[in-house]
């Protein structure tokens, strides 16, 4: 005899279309109240992933959801149009058709959340994705360090948007955080946001270079106050990539921002997320801390390049019962 566990009734799912974060004036009083206890954050993430697990068809569904939230990324010095074409082809068909059939979701048109590239690769990506509805995201503002003159960084955004990028992943100037110059950080992100126009802005905090979780939470809040649509952990080029403690800290900032302003801001962990198991941990984090709404590409993305392959293998295992191999899945 087994009682079934009771799932909480569906999260309070707001029916109206999510409206874009327009930002609010810089509130330094709020920043002063920020308290982050590192040990408690670490305990929470350690138990969070032990408290929840998803099995069988639930696992398959969650993995498919993870796929739909991937910003399929290539940000390498040796990127070429050919490489971009291959990636975009994968973005359109991230999972083998026979597996989608077997899972009963072939007609859902599951694709990745976006393709993320350097600015000069944007035109190639835009062409390759034409008609797919998949947005092209471009890094900009002197990625990954951000250390070039402001007018060049703004011009880089305008350029990428002009080439058809629908999303711009900007990097912040870490100096502003490390010196506590919140006004400068606010002005910087607000300028970037203005330059983006209709394109959505993802603010990369490069958390590994911000020293403390408190700084990370403050920087998250300032980026949101300045109108960021997403906040993102890392460029993938820092010494440490996305971690769960950092993500929890940022996600709680998003929650607090929503509570105070009513605006939803998205979250994008990036770098180092390579396995299906990692992906599940982040999905659980989002569902537990922010709720069901943050399990959609509108509010959640993985910045990843190799994650998809591992998810494909897990899905094939779910379908066949046999452990899969990477070479069985078309590369991107």
């Amino acid at each position: 005899m087994r009682t079934t566990s009771v799932d909480k009734p569906k999260a309070i799912h707001s029916p109206e279309e999510p409206t874009r974060n327009t930002g609010i004036p810089l509130d330094t009083g709020w920043l002063k109240q920020v308290q982050v206890n590192k040990s408690a954050v670490e305990r929470r993430v350690a138990t969070l992933i032990a408290r929840r697990t998803v099995k069988k068809q639930w696992q398959a569904a969650w993995l498919l959801k993870a796929v739909s939230c991937i910003d399929l990324t290539t940000l390498a010095g040796d990127d070429t149009p050919g490489k971009i074409h291959r990636l975009c082809a994968k973005a359109r068909h991230p999972i083998r058709g026979d597996l989608l059939e077997a899972l009963g979701v072939a007609d859902l048109g599951i694709s990745v959340g976006a393709v993320c590239v350097y600015p000069t690769m944007v035109p190639h990506a835009v062409r390759a994705l034409e008609g797919s509805g998949i947005p092209v995201a471009s890094v900009a503002t002197a990625f990954p360090t951000g250390l070039s003159p402001m007018k060049l960084r703004l011009e880089e955004i305008r350029c990428a948007v002009g080439e058809g990028a629908a999303e711009i992943d900007i990097v912040i100037t870490r100096q502003h955080v490390l010196t506590g110059d919140w006004q400068a950080l606010y002005d910087e992100v607000a300028s970037f946001r203005e330059a983006c126009g209709e394109a959505h802005l993802k603010a990369i905090l490069a958390t590994a270079e911000l020293a403390t979780l408190r700084n990370i939470q403050r920087a998250s809040l300032v980026a949101m106050m300045a109108g960021a649509d997403f906040i993102k952990t890392s460029t993938g080029k820092e010494a440490e990539n996305a971690t769960l403690p950092v993500s929890l800290t940022m996600v709680r900032a998003i929650r607090e921002y929503r509570e105070r302003t009513g605006r939803n801001v998205g979250f994008k962990p990036a770098g180092g997320i390579r396995t299906a198991k990692d992906a599940m941990a982040w999905l659980i984090l989002m569902k537990e801390e922010l709720g069901r709404d943050w399990l959609e590409p509108e509010l959640f993305r993985f910045g990843a390049s190799t994650l998809l392959t591992d998810i494909e293998r897990q899905l094939e295992h779910h379908v066949t019962g046999r452990y899969s191999a990477a070479y069985r899945h078309p590369m991107g």
Partner: protein
């Protein structure tokens, strides 16, 4: 069954059952019938009766277990007694090997233990898998180390003998480990009784004992309800009782064991505060609350069940908490994605319901999440009460369920007052990002454990146990080992001669004239309360005689009101407990100095009163002065520890004075015994109410002037002369006296232990055994220092 497509939309978790097959197979193998483990076997007895063990998920019986009676308990104790000689004589290394083997076996079979625990108890598999069982293994590893190191670490101590251990149902195997590991490490043998709701993991553990070939009789496990426990508590051949359970039963055991010579440790109930200051990380504190009160369905003795919120953040914190409660998942304990499992038994569930109803009736506001409970099984939802006042039943009574009550405070001082406004004192949790505040508040909380920015952290290296009516004794760490050891000098102490015990003053009869017939100048000493010489409340005196029976003087006959006044004076001297150790040491040295100035006078008094010869009297005075030096020396060196708990934090084991202590002194060596007892107590920061030798009070009253001239602050030492056992009884019954030392007759000692059950004060008695106060080995040292303090463990995680 939901399809992938549907789940892709709902993004629900779905079931994630842990297989119970192996555990059910184990039950099946035993035909769901279990017998006690005695002398290395599972023997059958005549006329066995059985009780049922129930799966709390559905109320169905999963096992029938023998209700052990006289025969079983006698056999178990006899086996433990027989095994003691050889087990205690084993080299530490060999005992260490057994404990190490236990740790390894538990790790190897960890999932079976975890599943069986959740089946039997109803706790979520995540908890039994990730918390209970790993802590069990850790406890045996840690204590394998103590077994190895016992002789060199606990010099002058030896094992006690047969330990009777009675454990609760909330952490069945973990409590077993907390009891058995230190007992075996110290060299004792054990008769353990698991709670009747949750015997199964103890019985599986018994099989592990067979696997590692632990010598028969070293550990015996008898099953049954409170009746079986009572047989253990009353058994003549049991030398130590360790009990974890309710305060009510703790009191019964205290009375039951009074005067039997059984060593006792009690880990009882709690109503622990969870204090959130305005500068806390509130999101962290919310998770803390989850771990505090919804861990193990709130069936945790140290559960943070009173949420104290600073007013400025109360509304925000409560909003976050309600939101978090909506996300808790309750259900099948064997589902891996469950936060809250089932309540252990119907009677517990009824108790929770009744108390919640009472809370509502008293006007408190009850809030529960919107989701529905499972249809079947013993479940109770996480519950939050606001509009609760300290006077509410819910704020005072231990509910032992997933029910949290909230109160607010304005200032840190008010937080401390609310936190301490309880008869319990097990644990406390405090949340602030201000280290100054944290380290200011932690010592002010009257509880055995304080968790800073954390909660419900446990480890074998850190002592766990309560203040006040949460019991006494510690489990874990080196402080826990002392609960299973006794000083090696105790065994050899002789009993008092009968004549020594009946020594009592004569009623007022003698002439108050000197030999020449001339009236004496009256210098009848009064009592010494709050540094003032006070006439006894009752207006009676008693006469004091010389060794030859002739009249010397009168002394004030103290009564219960004098004790009351002395206790009040001692409470007012609270600053002594906070004074620096250096200052206290200086005052003890000063006392020694002033006593030495008057050494001749005290010697003469001793000669006159006790009939001692000059040499003997001189030795007593000289030894008294030395002893003051001895404890002055210890004052700033009795340090405490930083325990090595296995994660990033500092665990401070701080020795804290009891506060107000009673000290009842024996007839013999009236000056030296008095000094030997008072000095360690005040050295470590206690304020004392002393009843000096009933027969020879003048040695104490002569000290008044020494105390006055040595800068001993008012109220630190209060002296009430009079009938020792009468005054000891008043002290034992006094709820505002935290500890009581009684050195006197066996009968008086038994009375003290029995009467102390009211507030469960810690007592230290001599069981009618005579100490040689001139022998340093038995009249001073670690045992005296240890009994003058209780250990508070403060956990301070760090990291920015």
């Amino acid at each position: 069954m939901s399809s992938v497509r549907e789940i892709f939309e709902t993004m629900e978790y779905g079931p994630a059952p842990e297989s119970a097959d192996l555990a059910l197979g184990w039950l099946e193998e035993h035909r769901h019938t279990f017998h006690p483990f005695i002398n290395g076997e599972f023997p059958r007895f005549m006329d066995e009766s059985y009780f049922e063990s129930v799966d709390p998920r559905n109320g169905q019986s999963i096992a029938r277990i023998v209700q052990c009676g006289d025969m079983e308990v006698n056999a178990a104790v006899a086996a433990a007694k027989a095994a003691f000689a050889s087990w205690s004589a084993l080299p530490g290394h060999e005992r260490a090997r057994y404990l190490y083997a236990l740790a390894r076996q538990i790790q190897k079979h960890s999932r079976l233990f975890a599943v069986l625990e959740s089946l039997d108890n109803g706790k979520p598999i995540r908890e039994s898998r990730d918390i209970d069982i790993p802590l069990v293994a850790r406890h045996f590893y840690h204590h394998a180390g103590w077994a190895q190191l016992r002789n060199e670490t606990f010099i002058g101590y030896e094992p006690i003998g047969v330990c009777g251990q009675i454990i609760p149902w909330n952490f069945p195997l973990l409590m077993l480990a907390w009891k058995i590991a230190p007992a075996l490490a110290a060299g004792n043998t054990v008769v353990l009784k698991p709670a009747e709701y949750t015997s199964l993991t103890a019985l599986l553990f018994a099989e592990v004992l067979q696997q590692i070939s632990l010598p028969p009789g070293v550990v015996n496990i008898v099953t049954g309800d409170g009746r079986t426990g009572e047989l253990i508590v009353r058994h003549r051949d049991v030398q130590k009782i360790a009990f974890t359970g309710s305060t009510e039963v703790g009191r019964i055991i205290r009375r039951e064991t009074a005067g039997t010579g059984k060593k006792l440790s009690l880990e009882l109930g709690g109503k622990s505060p969870f204090i959130v200051f305005e500068d806390a990380d509130l999101d962290a504190a919310v998770e803390g609350v989850v771990d505090a009160i919804w861990f193990n369905q709130g069936q945790v003795c140290c559960a943070g069940s009173r949420l104290l919120l600073q007013e400025s953040v109360a509304a925000k914190m409560l909003a976050k908490l309600r939101h978090r409660m909506e996300n808790l998942r309750i259900g099948d304990p064997l589902d891996k994605g469950i936060d809250v499992g089932a309540i252990v038994a119907p009677v517990q569930l009824q108790r929770i319901r009744r108390l919640v109803e009472q809370g509502r009736a008293e006007g408190a506001t009850c809030w529960q999440p919107s989701w529905a409970l499972p249809q079947e099984g013993l479940f109770y939802p996480p519950t939050l009460f606001t509009d609760v006042e300290p006077a509410s039943t819910l704020a005072q009574v231990e509910i032992f369920g997933p029910v949290l009550v909230t109160m607010t405070f304005r200032t840190p001082n008010e937080a401390v007052e609310l936190a301490n406004n309880t008869t319990y004192g097990l644990a406390a949790s405090l949340w602030t990002e201000n280290i100054n505040l944290a380290l200011d508040i932690a010592p002010k909380l009257r509880s055995g454990v304080v968790w800073v920015n954390s909660t419900n952290l446990f480890d074998a290296a850190s002592g766990f146990g309560g203040y006040r009516e949460s019991g006494f004794g510690r489990e874990g760490g080196n402080e826990g080992m002392y609960e299973y050891l006794v000083p090696n000098w105790e065994r050899f102490l002789p009993a008092y001669e009968k004549t020594e015990i009946v020594l009592s003053p004569q009623p007022l009869a003698n002439s108050q004239h000197n030999a020449g017939g001339e009236p004496l100048i009256d210098r009848s000493p009064k009592l010494y309360i709050g540094a003032k010489q006070t006439r006894p409340d009752g207006g009676y005196s008693f006469s004091v005689e010389n060794a030859d029976g002739s009249y010397v003087s009168e002394a004030g006959l103290g009564n219960r009101k004098d004790i009351r006044n002395a206790v009040e004076a001692a409470h007012k001297a609270e600053s002594w407990s906070r004074a620096t150790a250096h200052l206290r040491a200086q005052i003890l040295y000063y006392l020694a100095e002033n006593l030495s100035v008057r050494a001749a006078e005290f010697s003469d008094r001793l000669i006159l009163l006790t009939g001692a010869d000059a040499g003997e009297a001189y030795r007593e005075v000289a030894k008294s002065i030395e002893r003051l030096f001895y404890y002055a020396a210890w004052t700033d060196k009795y340090d405490g520890y930083v325990h090595q708990t296995p994660f990033r934090n500092v665990t401070l084991a701080m020795p804290e004075p009891w506060g107000v202590m009673g000290v009842v002194c024996p007839a013999e060596r009236p000056l030296l015994a008095l000094v030997s007892l008072i000095a360690p107590a005040i050295a470590l920061g206690n304020r004392v109410v002393v009843n000096p030798s009933w027969r020879f009070p003048l040695l104490a009253t002569d000290l008044y002037q020494v105390l006055d001239t040595s800068d001993v602050p008012s109220g630190v030492v209060n002296i009430v002369t009079g009938h020792s056992d009468e005054l000891a009884k008043v002290l034992a019954q006094h709820d505002d006296v935290a500890a009581l030392w009684y050195i006197g007759s066996a009968k008086g000692g038994a009375m003290v232990e029995r009467e102390s059950a009211g507030n469960l004060k810690a007592t230290w008695i001599n069981h009618g055994k005579r100490r040689n106060w001139l022998d340093d080995h038995q009249a001073q040292g670690w045992e005296y220092l240890r009994h003058a303090v209780q250990i508070k463990n403060i956990w301070v995680p760090y990291g920015e």
